[in-house]
């Protein structure tokens, strides 16, 4: 069993799909901060078989949780303060997501237009479906 020390303030992002933690790390732009991050891959999980976990030592409020809801609503977000889990944050789907992921449709104007923001809009709240603002192509996963 691998042991990773506990954090004083920040987030533990649990139940990340196995193998996806590095993608989440980049999409949350954690590579651009000087936060201490532990990336745990393929941890055993009774619920998922295998899962990834991210532990991020950072001020609470400094991570864009909207992005997480958009990427995967099943991720559990534990908010840590003074070394303890304060609460689990409910993820709410944002109405709009800007410049997190790129539209993959090669026929979309975003594939050629310079300086254009990549924007996905929530089109079906119940099913959590996002569509590209320009071509209306469905977001099919990161």
């Amino acid at each position: 069993m691998l042991n990773v020390g506990k954090i004083e303030e920040g987030y533990v992002l649990d139940h990340i799909k196995a193998g996806k933690s590095l993608t989440i790390y980049h999409l949350l732009k954690l590579d651009k901060t000087d936060a201490q991050v532990a990336i745990i891959k393929n941890a055993r999980s009774s619920k998922m078989g295998k899962k990834d976990i991210l532990k991020v030592e950072c001020p609470v409020g400094s991570i864009n949780l909207d992005v997480l809801a958009f990427l995967d609503r099943n991720i559990t977000v534990n908010v840590i303060q003074d070394g303890e889990i304060m609460h689990k944050e409910d993820l709410i789907l944002p109405k709009e997501v800007r410049n997190v992921i790129k539209c993959k449709n090669p026929r979309c104007i975003t594939s050629i237009e310079q300086g254009l923001e990549h924007i996905f809009m929530l089109s079906d709240e119940e099913k959590g479906i996002y569509r590209c603002k320009y071509c209306e192509g469905k977001y099919t996963g990161y």
Binding site: C108, I109, L116, K133, Y134, C135, E136
Partner: protein, 303 residues
């Protein structure tokens, strides 16, 4: 400022007003001859399209306005790598309204966010072609006398045909419409449209052969079945005749059924049908000019 990017951008009430205006233009064209004197439309066509571009240009000329533009990306600064956003900023300084066709999906949306003049989407790749949908709706309203309470058959390539998808979405906002989808298995209507119809409790059925359905229809919307859409030549040869409308099939249809087609027609409607009074696809082109005239007036605030 109003633009037209998606066929659903206008509410059904707004469409009613637009179609009333188009009908008035049809009846009294002389009253509109000078409505756009001094106004210019820019037709920015990054890919060739004879009918749509000429229809827009005719519409503006009929209103007394003038036309500038390009009909091929190679003849524009797009060939030098200029973005759509920059092009529309420049065009905004020259013209009062712009009709844009572009091979990339969402190009007109980009243009509308940077434009200081109304933008009309004249087709953005396989995505939307709203003025074709408005043309189809006006043709149905003018010739059937109503938008609603009819059975419409859509025949041919229902999988890739954007005009078909837009028309279904637009008609699904009216009461009493029943759809009959007539296509080979390979070119069936996409699931997301089937789901939308089920959700709204709109009746529809899917059939393989045109003969099975034609007798029940008030309207038949034909589209082309292209050879390259089939997985193998054998299937194409076996099925293609099911989707060719000829005199024999027209005999099975009601006397007041109308045949529409977005054109260009290749061989899916036999030329022998052209003289049948129920064949209205060339009248449809004329309604396309009226609806574009009404749209230009509406977006310029001159209606």
């Amino acid at each position: 400022m109003r633009h037209l990017i998606n066929p659903l951008d206008f509410s059904t009430e707004e469409l009613d007003k637009l179609f009333d205006l188009a009908s008035d233009i049809e009846k009294h064209p002389e009253a509109y001859e000078h409505k756009c004197t001094g106004k210019k439309i820019a037709t920015c066509f990054y890919e060739p399209s004879t009918r749509t571009r000429l229809s827009f240009e005719t519409a503006m000329l009929n209103l007394g306005g003038s036309v500038i533009g390009f009909s091929d990306a190679s003849a524009s600064s797009a060939a030098k790598g200029e973005s759509v956003a920059d092009t529309i900023r420049v065009i905004s300084c020259f013209a009062d309204i712009c009709a844009m066709r572009h091979p990339k999906e969402g190009a007109a949306t980009v243009a509308s966010t940077h434009s200081t003049i109304p933008v009309i989407n004249a087709g953005d790749g396989g995505h939307q072609h709203p003025t074709q949908t408005l043309t189809d709706l006006l043709t149905i309203r003018a010739l059937k006398g109503r938008l609603g309470n009819f059975t419409i058959g859509l025949c041919g390539d229902l999988k890739f045909g954007r005009t078909v998808h837009s028309l279904i979405n637009a008609l699904s906002r009216y009461e009493g419409i029943r759809f009959v989808f007539i296509s080979p298995e390979e070119l069936r209507i996409p699931d997301y449209i089937v789901d939308m119809l089920k959700e709204k409790n709109i009746p529809f059925e899917e059939v393989i052969r045109l003969e099975e359905a034609i007798g029940d229809l008030d309207l038949l919307y034909m589209t082309r079945v292209q050879r390259e859409r089939f997985f193998n030549e054998e299937d194409y040869v076996r099925l293609k005749d099911f989707y060719i409308l000829d005199k024999a099939k027209m005999e099975l249809a009601r006397e007041d059924m109308l045949v529409l087609h977005p054109l260009p027609r290749v061989n899916e409607i036999s030329v022998e049908v052209d003289d049948d009074p129920r064949a209205v696809y060339f009248k449809q082109v004329q309604y396309g000019v009226y609806v574009r005239m009404a749209l230009i007036l509406t977006l310029l605030g001159l209606a």
